[in-house]
Amino acid sequence: MSDVWLAIALAGAGTFAMRASFLAAANHLGEVPPWASRVLRQIPPAALAAIILPALVRPEGTFDLFQPRLAAGILAALIAWWTRSVLATLVLGLAGVTVLEAVWPT
């Protein structure tokens, strides 16, 4: 039991340190040079895609293009593009994956 709390304390402290790293030192940042802001603005698409794509093409831990999650993900991406709506994407995406997982031939 105390092992769990020790793990929580360590994981929490380390994660907060990572979150705080640059933010804590932000007052020492001068003007951000153009090359740095060029690097920094790549972070959102790079990081988000690195989280999303494995969830779509390796849902069971092995690479597989012919399964419901990739199909539902493509559907959801199109809905996200057209509607820009979180709710529409979530509802239709979750409904899509539920239906597809039910009918997908295995």
Binding site: R19, S21, A50, A72
Partner: protein, 254 residues
Amino acid sequence: MTEQGSPPSPPPHTSEWRAGARAAAPLLAAVVPFGLVAGATPAAAGFGVAAAVGMSTFVFAGASQLAMTDVLAGGGSALVAAMAAWVINLRMLLYSASLAPFLTHEPLRRRLAVAYLTVDQNYALAISHWGPRTRPADGSFMIGAGILLGVAWVASTAIGAALGTTMPEELPLDFAVPLVFLVLLVPALVTAPAVAASVAGGGVAVASAGAGFGPWSVMAGAMAGIAVGTVVDWLGSAPGATPDEPAEEVDPGE
């Protein structure tokens, strides 16, 4: 600025708090189901409601909480569990670096509040709210969004832990997470560097997961995506379109 009459104008931060909370509100539809899972999983492993809530309060990063639960439930030590969480959360370093230039003028305690509340969702919301140019921004937007997400996260974890394993397993609730990130990513895919960064980021993440990088694969993908996006961005903006570069597939339109 020109409001009718002169009602007592709200404190300067209040409207940004509200804007942040309003922007984050639709994301609750994904945060709550994921929170239920993040609560039910450690409860099912026998760690109790308090530990589940403690994880959500102090770690506040769903994927890493599931990973550390996995390690602990498998008999791994506290240090190994924490290391699994750290690796998954390495992207927070990137988020911190990306947010810092906007908040240089904010006092330390507000920057630390932003740091504690930084998660994928409000990070992506804040960057698109403040950007694309780096400028002094009001951290309240991210704090407002973060408090709403955090309260919902901790509360749904507690409920999930209390319900335990009674949640129907066939509901694909975990799929809500990539769906939300899709909504945050897709509108940004209108520039060549963003497309290149996400193709490389996603591709390398998938390839390195396949090569056995495990929890490192997200960070590997993110770093590759940043590198490729930076190069494409630099090539696209270089004056004279870099005549010394071998031209490939010249776009007749441009």
